[in-house]
């Protein structure tokens, strides 16, 4: 169960895994996620289901190394298994024909954006995709996304690929170009979603964001994932993870994401030390 069938390196520190999970593959709709746990001592972490193969019973996840668990995950290979995979969790994206949809993915957030964008295209929308990253090496799923996008843009902070600048610069260009946009989707760092939302609010364009709050159970039992939307408390794992971008309290989200900064660093350093010591032994 939960066996890794395939693994691909997409960029520096970003891996794609195909995992055997037939029940989840069968049920999953775009926008939903799983929670995984690697081993008995492990933490439960949420990851978007980037793609599925229903026939083969496989789900795809795309994971960026940011701390202990994702680092550990990155060391696993085909044939290894994850101890726990549960899902599909969260509300599926509301997909219909809106007209012109702009899907914005920042960094590994594009893995979250990818299935939603694909769903929007399949529903007959004119799809414009913007993928942003710090630098060229961190752009993921470029070819796959290009395939189904009507327009496709890349931005990098350092200008090493695509347009130099932020995803919001590209969005602004589209907006000022007078294009009629019916919906904007954004997934990525909280700060990116915040600025995308501020911009689209000015233009009165409906915006959906996918929030990446800290989670434990993913079933509405613990409340750690709570976010404020329109002044009301919501649980991202069951009410979301997608919400109206214009209503989200991003500052709160960012503060809550930093809850365990010190402990996360401790866990990561400890893990890396362990790997190092192991290497010496061998």
């Amino acid at each position: 169960m939960n066996q890794i069938i395939d693994k691909k390196r997409l960029a520096e520190g970003i891996n794609l895994f195909e995992i055997e999970a037939p029940l989840i593959a069968r049920k999953r709709k775009p926008g939903q996620f799983v929670i995984i746990r690697i081993d008995e001592n492990g933490e439960r972490i949420p990851l978007t289901i980037a793609d599925v193969n229903k026939e083969k019973g496989i789900i795809t996840i795309v994971v960026q190394v940011v701390g202990k668990t994702t680092e550990h995950l990155g060391t696993l290979s085909p044939g290894d298994s994850l101890l726990d995979v549960v899902g599909p969790l969260g509300q599926p994206t509301h997909i219909e024909k809106f007209g012109t949809v702009v899907a914005i993915g920042g960094g590994v957030g594009h893995a979250v954006c990818f299935p939603i964008a694909k769903g929007m295209k399949d529903a007959g929308n004119y799809l414009i995709t913007i993928v942003g990253a710090r630098t060229k090496g961190l752009i993921i799923l470029e070819e796959e996304t290009k395939k189904f996008s009507d327009e496709f843009y890349i931005t990098t902070d350092d200008g090493s690929y695509g347009k130099k600048g932020l995803v919001t610069d590209q969005l602004k260009e589209l907006l000022e170009g007078g294009k009629k946009i019916d919906l904007v989707l954004a997934a990525g760092p909280a700060i990116m979603m915040k600025f995308v939302s501020l911009m689209t609010k000015e233009y009165g364009i409906k915006t959906i964001v996918s929030l990446n709050s800290i989670m434990v159970d993913g079933t509405g039992m613990c409340g750690v994932c709570r976010v404020e939307v329109g002044g009301k408390t919501k649980f991202a794992c069951v009410d979301g993870p997608e919400f109206d971008g214009h209503e989200v309290n991003y500052d709160l989200l960012m503060k809550r994401l930093a809850t365990y900064k010190e402990e996360e660093k401790l866990a990561y350093d400890r893990y890396m030390q362990k790997i190092k010591d192991k290497g010496k032994e061998m």
Partner: protein, 473 residues
């Protein structure tokens, strides 16, 4: 005649105390607080039971454990037989002996309590169950002929484990579907190690599996599969033992500050995810210097005693009424006091205060006084106008109760819920408004007790068997 008189004169020994870890020691560790009876004490305690011909104690037990019979076996030092006797109606004696509120169930109605302290039924139950386990391989009761019928049980708390175990004994094919990665419900994610060691829960779950029950964890009903699909897949009946797992928060300014936890989160991190062993285990939990738990029930006591053990310098209970009205078990309140928990009565938060990082750094509290009794019979707390004051703290746990989790229920359009969102089910037969769907435990009654949830499981097993046999709904 003469002999009888003699017997009457024989002095009854006092109720035997159970040894506990020293408070100074135990506040630093997660080991079990209560240490259990020795054989000698167990026999002495058992000798106190007079074996009433019409034992009222049995009626006080939601699953009708044959109390005088099992105690008689203890008197005869037949400890394993005693445990088996209990297991005829209660498949989780090691757990119930530890966490049942005996003082309001079986022990309160013991005849001795009219003239003396009641027989320590719970402590004896715990003793024989532990004795049986320590004595070696626990015997599996014989199974009936396979009935060729499948039952899906949703949730692996005490309600689900009981109905599954009982049905398996009858020969049904039973599969439990559990959302979390470990079975046990509140027994694994809520009640702390120092009150209920997880090895004991694992042992009892293992027993249920040995009865032939299959366990599927990481299975969220309503998401991974729906109840309707169960019927399509050939299950003849479904039991919903979902528990009351939705945490309530206070609707006050600042409630989402960093460092404010629901009791569910706090306890789940510590118990299920073993945050008390961080960084050996990956999941962290921060308690700060002054941890405050809001609430006065068992969940609040478990949370505050967990915070203490995790290293908070100062731990407080904030409760809006007085000590007398606290719903927690007296024993747990005493344990908390002995360990150094400070109780602040007749105060209630009105606002949470944060620093510039968005972390909680204090609360605004208001003083309360007790007014007229309310529906619960307890005197209603009334705020004293103008009495607000600022109170510093860096960790807050909200333990004011919980409600029904709508996740699975929202996918069952024909299931009748009451106005609070709990499932409407018959108390005796556990039947819901949907044919073939039974429900019991906290998801029907709201937060209750382990043994009441088991009582539901027990009654449901009988009703489900009847439903299969008669086909009547």
């Amino acid at each position: 005649m003469v002999e009888k008189k003699k017997k009457k004169k024989k002095k009854r020994p006092p109720r035997q105390e159970m040894p506990r870890q020293d408070p100074k020691e135990r506040r630093m560790n997660f080991n079990e607080v209560a240490l259990g009876f020795s054989e000698e004490t167990a026999v002495i305690e058992a000798s106190r039971c007079i074996g009433c011909p019409k034992p009222e104690c049995i009626d006080g037990c939601p699953v009708f454990v044959d109390i005088p019979e099992f105690i008689k076996l203890v008197q005869e030092k037949k400890f394993v037989e005693a445990s088996k006797k209990i297991k005829e109606t209660n498949i989780l004696p090691a757990i119930c002996g530890r966490v049942c509120p005996q003082e309001t169930q079986c022990e309160i109605v013991c005849v001795l309590s009219k003239i003396d302290k009641p027989v320590a039924i719970g402590r004896l139950e715990r003793f024989v169950a532990d004795y049986e386990a320590a004595a070696g391989e626990v015997e599996i009761p014989p199974k009936s002929e396979p009935k060729g019928k499948k039952v899906a049980v949703v949730g692996s708390g005490p309600a689900g484990l009981t109905v599954a175990g009982e049905l398996a004994k009858m020969g049904y094919e039973v599969i439990i579907f559990e959302a979390l990665h470990k079975p046990g419900g509140v027994l694994v994610y809520g009640i702390p190690e120092f009150r209920l060691p997880k090895a004991i829960v694992a042992r009892e779950v293992d027993f249920v599996e040995k009865l032939g029950v299959e366990l599927k964890t990481n299975f969220v009903v309503g998401r991974t599969v729906t109840v309707e699909e169960f019927f399509d897949q050939g299950y003849g009946a479904v039991f919903l033992g979902l528990g009351a797992g939705l945490p309530w928060f206070l609707n006050l300014p600042g409630i989402n500050l960093v460092g404010i936890y629901s009791a569910n989160e706090f306890l789940t991190r510590s118990n299920l995810m073993k945050a008390y062993l961080f960084p050996e285990y990956d999941t962290p939990l921060r308690v700060g210097k002054k941890a405050v738990v809001i609430g006065g029930g068992n969940v609040a006591m478990d949370s505050v005693r967990t915070a203490l053990r995790l290293g908070a310098k100062e731990t407080h209970i904030i409760y809006r009424r007085s000590r007398k009205e606290m719903p927690a078990r007296e024993e747990e309140i005493e344990n908390a006091e002995a360990e150094g928990v400070i109780f602040d009565f007749l105060v209630n938060p009105v606002e949470f205060l944060g620093d510039k990082e968005g972390r909680v750094c204090g609360m605004k509290l208001i003083r309360m006084e007790l007014g007229e009794p309310d529906e619960s019979g307890r005197r209603r707390p009334v705020p004293i106008e103008g009495s607000e004051f600022v109170y510093n703290c860096d960790t807050v746990v909200i333990a004011i109760g919980q409600g029904p989790n709508p996740l699975a229920l929202s996918t069952m359009k024909d299931l009748k819920l009451n106005k609070w969102g709990y499932i409407v089910a018959d108390i005796e037969t556990c039947k819901t408004s949907m044919k073939g769907v039974f429900a019991g435990g906290d998801i029907v009654t709201g937060e209750a007790t382990v043994i009441e949830a088991m009582g539901f499981g027990w009654r449901a097993s009988i009703a489900i068997d009847k439903y299969f046999t008669t086909g009547e709904w």
